[in-house]
């Protein structure tokens, strides 16, 4: 692949085609969509964490503007069952009717001509609650003092799973070092720039119930809505308009989507709900909230001989569809061994329920927590043995010749040169600067530290992975419909959903590589079940591999036909021509004779008399693609941070941040840099700022941006990013996904650096976010330990 400036295909850093409309504010998001007669929706949401609903009284005279579950007709609850044995089911109703299970759960739909009017109505509804004790902490989920959250449950645990690989007991005996630690990654909100939102109406011409939703996967939502509403898929049209960021929060079937669709079906009213920031913070699916108890047994050179772990995840009140509640804990237990050749592994993972908003996918899903736990542990091993943390990692990494590697967590890694990324990052961060910086800040409040973190990012998971996870839907492939227009340009319809990744650009680059067509004349359309063939959407770092594969495959099919027609127009046999530079040319012919794409397309559609006898008219194909092996393509990388910890305030300042990563073949290096920086910003959020605490009674304590801090421009340093590119053996073009990797290791890296800085003072911190209070708390604890000893 070339990356020269004139390369507009795979490997070229071309400017994003979608940016002009986005940066000039001209695009159409949910809040920009209006329909004649449309009503604004406000939801009455539960103000209490756990209660039986005894009665709901609508304000007098407003009965046709306030709707509860029984007004919606036949609606099935969201049922996200895991196939894993022992899973406890939770039915998540579109509107709560007899029980509320978290603050923010929708109870009633209120309609107004303005949102304020709808909110006025919501304030007038009277609900009688009989409050129940709320499960607000992981320590309470198995406590019989708390009532079961769902009917028939014996304890508030969705699922407990175990892994027992190798011979942990024998390996422990051979070990000379035992490192035992507790780690906690606290609960976060997801905070996409645009919140969720839904607009619904009935299209009287087509008979379709039209659902516009700010979602990552419109086709899958159509399938789910059809099921919950008892409708046929052909009776529904789901459209995702411009989606203003998502990161997983719009990758679930929402009760709000079902509620609006059901109400429009029932009443014919056009409706719009635009989630506000407070709703987003308290009632959108949350993320993380992992707790780890880890024991690592190592030899004198830091090789991990055995790993034991006890993992708890607080998954909130309901199992989210289609991921299911145990996804987080399942990924945590599966990914804890990370890039290391650990062969003796014993672990238990519990998915606990609580009276909090459900946990859903968020950039990295499960892995930031697992990476935090294993990467903190490996640096603790290095510190205990006084060894370089990169050298200790190198001794433990799966080696290039060991691939495909079946991990102790049950995953199959395709390939990688993990050690290269760690050594590259060490070269770039220059650890030799540490002593110099420490000397410089010797008599100040600032302690300098350096931390590393290596991560794996399973991407483009295929059929086998999703079947193994026991999900209700299996996402093993992607489709694309490609049509050349009569003027020789291209329209690509894909069921994936661009929500900031630049996929319109990168898919056009794939078309350029296959057809030589200028990306500027390629239109990529997504987000509409009436346009694109069925497909799974954009999540799990899958779209470049899966949709890129489908577009590549479709363009290849089209190219075949273009060559046939072109050769016919040039009056030579097909084996004499090549497709390049936007036309068909005779290979090695100096005369410059060529048939342009426009001439070929005109023949295919408008002048069929010019076609050869054996070629059908038209230039459109639908192609499907899946990877050659379905275990996922594994991106990886190492990050390093140099930090200054302010002992006076507890603030952490990032002085330098370096990334060396490998996502196989890179389609657009500039877009990859952007994805890395965006992921890093969110990783810094996890590491230092973002936390959604709950009170004992189940009240969320960070319901506005005053209490819920996200990093801003001043808090995110510009990282140096180095690309290593070892193509995946299992994907078309060797592409690996990379949308999540930037967000996975920063909590581990920054926490490692902070601990490196504080180690000399006897202070340790193993919880995110690393707030000033936690840092000073750790220093105070170290002081009092010193005073005692």
């Amino acid at each position: 692949m070339t990356s020269s400036s004139d390369n507009k295909g795979i490997g070229g850093s071309i400017l994003r085609l979608e940016d002009q409309r986005l940066l000039s504010g001209r695009s159409t998001f949910i809040a920009d969509i209006e329909y004649p007669g449309m009503w604004e929706v406000a939801f009455l949401r539960s103000p209490v964490g756990h209660a039986d609903i005894l009665d709901i009284r609508k304000p007098a005279g407003c009965e046709n503007r306030v709707y509860i579950l029984s007004d919606l007709g036949d609606v099935l609850p969201i049922r996200a069952d895991s196939q894993a044995p022992g899973f406890r089911r939770s039915d998540y109703p579109a509107l709560a009717n007899d029980r509320v299970r978290f603050v923010g759960e929708p109870i009633a739909i209120c309609l107004g001509r303005s949102r304020a009017e709808a909110e006025d109505l919501a304030e007038q509804i009277e609900v009688d609650y009989r409050e129940l004790p709320a499960v607000s902490d992981l320590s309470q989920s198995r406590d019989p003092a708390f009532p079961p959250i769902h009917p028939g449950w014996t304890q508030n645990v969705f699922l407990e799973s175990k892994i027992d690989v190798g011979d942990v007991e024998s390996a422990k005996k051979a070990a000379t070092l035992r490192i035992e630690r507790e780690y906690k990654m606290n609960r976060q909100a997801i905070v996409s720039l645009e919140g969720r939102g839904v607009v619904t109406w009935r299209d009287e011409r087509t008979g379709e119930l039209v659902v516009y939703s700010s979602t990552q996967f419109p086709h899958v939502i159509r399938t789910a809505l059809a099921h919950c509403l008892g409708m046929k898929e052909r009776e529904l049209r789901v459209v995702a308009p411009e989606v203003g960021g998502s990161f997983g929060v719009k990758n679930n079937l929402n009760p709000e989507e079902i509620a609006l669709a059901a109400l429009t079906r029932q009443t014919g009213k056009a409706l719009r709900w635009v989630e506000d920031r407070r709703e987003h913070l308290i009632a959108s699916p949350h993320a993380r909230e992992h707790k780890y108890h880890v024991v690592a047994h190592a030899d004198g050179e830091g090789r991990i001989l055995a790993l034991e772990a006890d993992i708890d995840v607080d998954a909130g009140a309901y199992s989210v569809w289609p991921w299911t509640a145990p996804m987080e804990a399942g990924m945590a237990i599966g990914f804890l061994p990370g890039p290391y050749a650990i062969t003796n592994y014993h672990a238990v993972a519990r998915t606990c329920a609580s009276n909090k908003s459900p946990i859903g996918p968020y950039r990295g899903v499960g892995r930031p927590g697992a990476c935090f736990a294993i990467e903190r542990t490996i640096e603790e091993i290095a510190a205990a043995l006084n060894l370089d943390p990169v050298d200790v990692r190198a001794r433990n990494f799966v080696k290039p010749e060991q691939f495909p590697w079946r991990s102790a967590g049950g995953k199959t890694y395709d390939n990688g040169r993990y050690e290269d990324s760690a050594r590259k990052v060490r070269d770039l961060i220059r650890p030799e600067r540490l002593s110099e910086l420490r000397k410089k800040f010797e008599d100040t409040d600032y302690e300098i530290g350096l931390g590393y973190g290596t991560y794996l990012e399973q991407t483009a998971h295929g059929t086998a992975e999703w079947v193994q996870r026991g999900l209700p839907v299996v996402f093993g492939y992607e489709q694309a419909a490609i049509q050349m227009t009569p003027d020789g340009m291209l329209i690509i319809d894909v069921p994936i959903q661009n929500h900031g990744q630049g996929l319109e650009t990168t898919l056009a680059q794939v078309a350029n590589t296959e057809l030589g067509i200028d990306p500027a004349v390629v239109t990529v359309r997504h987000g509409d079940t009436n346009q694109a063939p069925y497909g799974m959407g954009t999540f799990a770092s899958r779209s470049m591999v899966m949709s890129g594969g489908a577009v590549g495959r479709g363009c290849e099919m089209l190219a075949d036909k273009l060559r046939k027609i072109g050769a016919h127009l040039l009056q030579v046999s097909e084996d004499k021509v090549v497709l390049r530079n936007g036309g068909v040319e005779i290979d090695g012919d100096p005369s410059g004779a060529r048939a342009t794409l426009a001439e070929i397309a005109a023949a295919a559609y408008l002048r069929p008399e010019r076609l050869p006898d054996n070629v059908e008219p038209g230039l459109s194909v639908v192609a499907a693609y899946r990877t050659s092996k379905d275990t996922g393509a594994w991106s990886y990388g190492t990050h390093a941070a140099l930090v200054a910890v302010d002992k006076g305030t507890g603030l952490v300042k990032i002085l330098d941040y370096v990334i060396a990563h490998d996502c196989g073949t890179i389609v657009n290096p500039m877009i990859v840099d952007g994805q890395m920086m965006g992921g890093l910003a969110q990783g810094i959020g996890t590491a230092l700022y973002e936390e959604m605490p709950y009170s004992d009674s189940g009240q969320p304590l960070a319901s506005t941006f005053m209490d819920y801090l996200v990093p801003g421009a001043c808090e995110v340093p510009r990282a140096h990013i180095e690309h290593l590119s070892n193509p995946s053996p299992i994907t078309r073009y060797g592409i690996k996904g990379m949308g999540e990797g930037g967000a996975i290791p920063p909590p581990a890296v920054i926490c490692n650096a902070v601990n490196d800085a504080l180690r000399g003072l006897g202070a340790a911190i193993n919880e995110t976010p690393i707030t000033p209070e936690r840092v000073i708390g750790a220093l105070l604890a170290a002081q009092s330990r010193k005073a005692v000893s």
């Binding site: 909110e119 006025d120 920031r277 305030t649 002085l655 801090l709 001043c714 140096h720």
Partner: protein, 290 residues
């Protein structure tokens, strides 16, 4: 997040505003910059049946240099102070503080008097006016009244203002040219509310030292003020004295502050005092990859 129905009025004088306040009773709210009130109303955490917009009242926009003091109207914005559009009695302290309040968008609309009246303990002006020995003036049905800024706050979000009172102006005594000031606040990120702050005017026997962003009114530190009286340079023994004195003053204040918060307040104080001696926090310079 849209506000409930309300009546909006825009009086032309302080007297009219007070009349509106009296008529509106408990459900009347004054609005000037609206930078705190608007989000609270949108969240429906605050309801105001009657919203009284005082931005256009000329008397609240005064900026009078009265020689030994400057009188600043309640509706002067943070931005106007930051850009030096009012006479500065503080040797540069007030523009410095103003330029570090939240973000520029907030500074453009947020007002000096609004920030004081709301009395969020983390508000920069509560501690600044206390340190400067300012006097806060207001007007209500009972006529005009005033008190020292350090006596103005009774508890978080609670001041000496009665429901019908309107903060009109603040008198700032002019600092002598010899007075040095230092200010330091701990914010988790740029533009956030402070978690701790310290404000120091070092002027020999007239030194004034306050901690802010606590659990209520700014805390005056009399023993630290005494210790500063004869301090001529910053040194390790001086730091030790200040740390011990600060803790003693906090203990004597009777305030209920956590160990972590006390630690952070002491840091802010030390850094503010160092600033009065011309000592800046160390700079990290360009450490990043090039």
């Amino acid at each position: 997040m849209k506000p409930a129905q309300l009546t909006y009025c825009r009086p032309n004088s302080v007297g009219e505003a007070v009349t509106e306040l009296v008529e509106g009773g408990w459900n009347a709210k004054l609005i000037a910059g609206g930078q705190s009130l608007m989000p609270m109303m949108n969240l429906r955490l605050v309801s105001a049946d009657r919203l009284i917009d005082i931005r256009k009242i000329d008397a609240l926009r005064i900026r009078n240099d009265e020689g030994a003091q400057v009188r600043i109207g309640a509706c002067i914005t943070h931005d106007e102070i930051q850009r030096g559009e009012i006479p500065d009695p503080s040797n540069g302290l007030m523009p410095y503080i103003a330029s570090r309040i939240a973000y520029q968008a907030v500074r453009n609309r947020g007002t000096f008097g609004g920030s004081l009246s709301l009395a969020d303990p983390a508000a920069d002006w509560l501690t600044t006016t206390a340190a400067l020995g300012a006097t806060i003036e207001w007007e209500g049905v009972g006529g005009k009244s005033s008190c020292l800024a350090e006596d103005f706050v009774l508890a978080p979000y609670t001041t000496r203002l009665e429901p019908s009172d309107l903060l009109t102006s603040v008198i700032i005594p002019r600092l002598p040219g010899s007075a040095k000031w230092g200010a330091y606040k701990l914010c988790r990120k740029t533009g956030e509310y402070a978690h701790a702050m310290a404000m120091v005017i070092r002027d020999g026997a007239r030194s004034r030292v306050f901690l802010g962003a606590t659990d209520g009114a700014p805390i005056r530190l009399p023993a630290v003020e005494t210790a500063l009286k004869d301090m001529t340079l910053w040194s390790a023994p001086a730091a030790k004295t200040i740390a011990a004195t600060c803790r003693a003053d906090i203990a004597a204040s009777g305030r209920d502050l956590s160990d972590v918060r006390i630690w952070q307040l002491c840091t802010c104080l030390e850094r503010a005092i160092k600033m009065t001696f011309g000592l800046q926090e160390p700079m990290f310079g360009e450490t990043s990859w090039k």
